[in-house]
């Protein structure tokens, strides 16, 4: 029994010993395997990293390739489709430029005094601008106009050179003009292209009092000063009116056509443009003899005019006042020693295409005496801009004239363009 037990114990212990050894061996194998696994895992990690990096690089290369492709495509595309040069682009490439404006009017009016109808269709103006830039500072600008389509003896029209001057920028924001230019007065005198104002015809106040369109020949300085201020100072040929015309200012425009130069005039203007959309302006003019030394009973003349032009979003407002003081017994006798007028014009621009306006005008070319010689007029109308440079206009006018004078009420229709 003891032997069996001993043998069993021995076997077990040997086995145990063997098992221990086996365990040990197994443990070391397991450990080794674990190490291998760890190592392989590590390798796997780094391989994964490498793969990721490679993937990124592939992505980046792909992106670069797409970008390069895009660039090549863009360049190729651009080569194929050279943009068509418009006239304006070619003009920017050249230094001569031209432009123009024009307006066709239909005036369907009735004289309230006599009941007579006055229906007229008239190509009121056809204008061409020609200009040339000699260099960055020196340029030439001109404006040639045909009024009422047909000019000549006995014909209703006129061919006029309204502007022809050399302009030199002698300093930043300072210029000098020599030649024939528009007098710096009023709202419409310098800017009267059809799409820029309301009403088929130009307002009667500026027409009869300023008198628009008014140009003379001479020398003009203009420029900017302070913050948002602009000035103009000009010395130029003067008006030539006389008793035959009741010393009316508009009749005195010589248009620089062999103009009598015995008496010259000086004009000055200041404007404030400090607030966007707002223009405040005042002009003064003095001429020492408005009859060009042909009438001893008349002499010097002073013009004062001021205006407000405001456009804020849809709302627009224009208001102008102009007054002439004429010296001498001649004008004083008939009341032409004071000629003045004013108007106010609110407007509403619904959108790019539609706008409406109303205007109240008063003017008098014989305001110096108490006789009834004052005109007044209401205008109401609408502008339709087919394009920013093309406009259709419709308005109704209600005039109040002094006794015995033509009083024209009725409709006006017009189309105008500029470029």
């Amino acid at each position: 029994m003891r032997t069996f037990f001993m043998i069993a114990l021995l076997t077990i212990s040997t086995a145990g010993f063997a098992a221990d050894k086996q365990m040990e061996e197994m443990q070391s194998v397991i450990q080794a395997q674990q190490q291998q696994i760890d190592f392989l895992l590590q390798q796997l990690d780094s391989t994964r990293e490498v793969v990721l990096a490679l993937k990124e690089q592939v992505d980046a290369n792909a992106q670069a390739a797409t970008e390069a492709n895009e660039k090549a495509e863009i360049l190729a595309d651009n080569m194929e489709s050279q943009p068509e040069l418009t006239e304006a682009d070619r003009q920017f490439a050249s230094s001569s430029r031209f432009g123009g404006y024009g307006e066709l009017h239909a005036n369907m009016l009735e004289n309230q005094v006599t009941g007579e109808d006055s229906n007229v269709l008239d190509l009121h103006r056809f204008v061409l601008y020609f200009g040339h830039d000699f260099n960055d500072r020196l340029r030439f600008m001109s404006e040639l106009e045909i009024e009422h389509a047909l000019a000549g003896d006995g014909k209703p029209g006129e061919v006029e050179l309204e502007q022809a001057y050399i302009e030199y920028d002698w300093a930043a924001n300072q210029s000098l003009r020599a030649g024939v230019f528009l007098i710096p007065v009023g709202i419409l005198n310098e800017t009267h292209e059809p799409p820029t104002f309301y009403g088929v015809e130009r307002n009667p106040v500026e027409k009869n009092i300023i008198p628009t369109t008014w140009w003379e020949g001479g020398l003009a300085f203009n420029g900017a000063f302070a913050d948002g201020w602009r000035y103009d100072a000009a010395v130029h040929s003067g008006l030539y009116t006389g008793s035959d015309d009741n010393y009316a200012i508009r009749a005195g425009r010589q248009k620089v056509a062999k103009a009598k130069f015995d008496s010259q005039a000086v004009t000055g203007r200041v404007r404030w443009l400090g607030v966007p959309g707002l223009e405040l302006s005042a002009s003064v003019q003095y001429q020492d003899d408005i009859t060009q030394e042909t009438d001893p009973t008349a002499g010097s003349a002073w013009l004062f005019t001021g205006h407000v032009s405001w456009r804020h979003k849809a709302f627009g407002l224009r208001a102008l006042y102009a007054n002439w003081n004429l010296d001498g017994a001649g004008p004083e006798e008939i009341g032409a020693d004071r000629q003045n007028g004013w108007y106010i014009e609110p407007s509403w621009r619904f959108n790019e295409k539609w706008g409406v306006f109303a205007r109240y005008n008063r003017w008098d070319n014989l305001a110096g005496n108490n006789a009834d010689s004052e005109y007044s007029q209401w205008d109401l109308g609408i502008n339709y801009w087919l394009h920013p440079n093309v406009v259709f206009k419709l308005d109704y006018q209600d005039q109040d004239a002094p006794d015995g004078m033509k009083e024209l009420d009725g409709w006006n229709l017009g189309v105008g363009y500029q470029f």
Partner: protein, 229 residues
């Protein structure tokens, strides 16, 4: 004054007057050209080239203007401001006084860039050396890359160090003479050829004679005046 002295004074005065008249024209030319040369840089005479017919007549040089315009007229861009063309590692750079035009190898316009982006009011000269592009304005020099990305203003030392290189200058078409050169040649009477040296020496001598005789006459006159009183 003794008779001899008076005769001597009259003779000196006579010769003084003759010399004066003789060299007056040359003296005027000298003064005028000298004045212009003195202000050559202010009045841009050192960058304006002589009118072609004048250049041909005076110097016998006929310059060939390379046609830089073609790639731009295709895009409708005026090229009156162009004055140089730099070959880049990739593409071409056309330089104008106000704008730079980057073209690719096929001559197509890639980008138009105003020189104001580099802080220059106008471009007066350009230099291309490998992948360094130098742009020079009226008072500074900028270094940029062929891609025109970024620009570094050089300090005055670095800028002056580049003065001797082959700059392409605005207003000067290669093989042309500037007004300054022409004025300098006039000033030094170089158009007289080999005689110029002798002529200049002679004129210098006459001026000296004029000055000395003038001073002598002045002294004599003063002494006579003080003696008379």
């Amino acid at each position: 004054m003794t008779i001899d002295k008076a005769k001597r004074r009259k003779a000196v005065a006579r010769w003084h007057r003759r010399f004066a008249i003789f060299i007056s024209i040359w003296l005027i030319l000298l003064a005028v050209t000298g004045l212009l040369i003195n202000h050559a840089h202010d009045w841009k005479l050192d960058s304006e080239s002589l009118a072609k017919p004048l250049q041909r007549w005076v110097y016998g040089i006929d310059s060939n203007e390379p046609d830089l315009c073609e790639p731009l007229t295709r895009e409708g861009i005026a090229c009156d401001q162009l004055f140089a063309r730099l070959q880049l590692p990739v593409g071409v750079l056309l330089l104008g006084v106000r704008d730079l035009f980057l073209l690719d190898d096929s001559g197509q316009l890639v980008e138009k860039l105003s020189v104001s982006q580099f802080g220059l009011a106008s471009l007066q000269a350009a230099l291309g050396e490998g992948s360094d592009i130098y742009l020079r304005g009226s008072n500074k020099t900028v270094l940029t890359t062929p891609d025109l990305m970024g620009g570094r203003t050089l300090d005055s030392e670095a800028a002056t160090a580049l003065n001797g290189r082959q700059w392409q200058v605005a207003g000067i078409i290669p093989d042309t003479i500037t007004w300054e050169r022409f004025l300098l040649d006039l000033h030094a009477a170089r158009f007289l050829g080999p005689v110029a040296k002798v002529f200049n020496d002679l004129m210098a001598a006459f001026v000296l004679i004029l000055a000395i005789s003038g001073l002598w006459l002045f002294r004599v006159k003063r002494n006579a005046a003080s003696r008379d009183n």
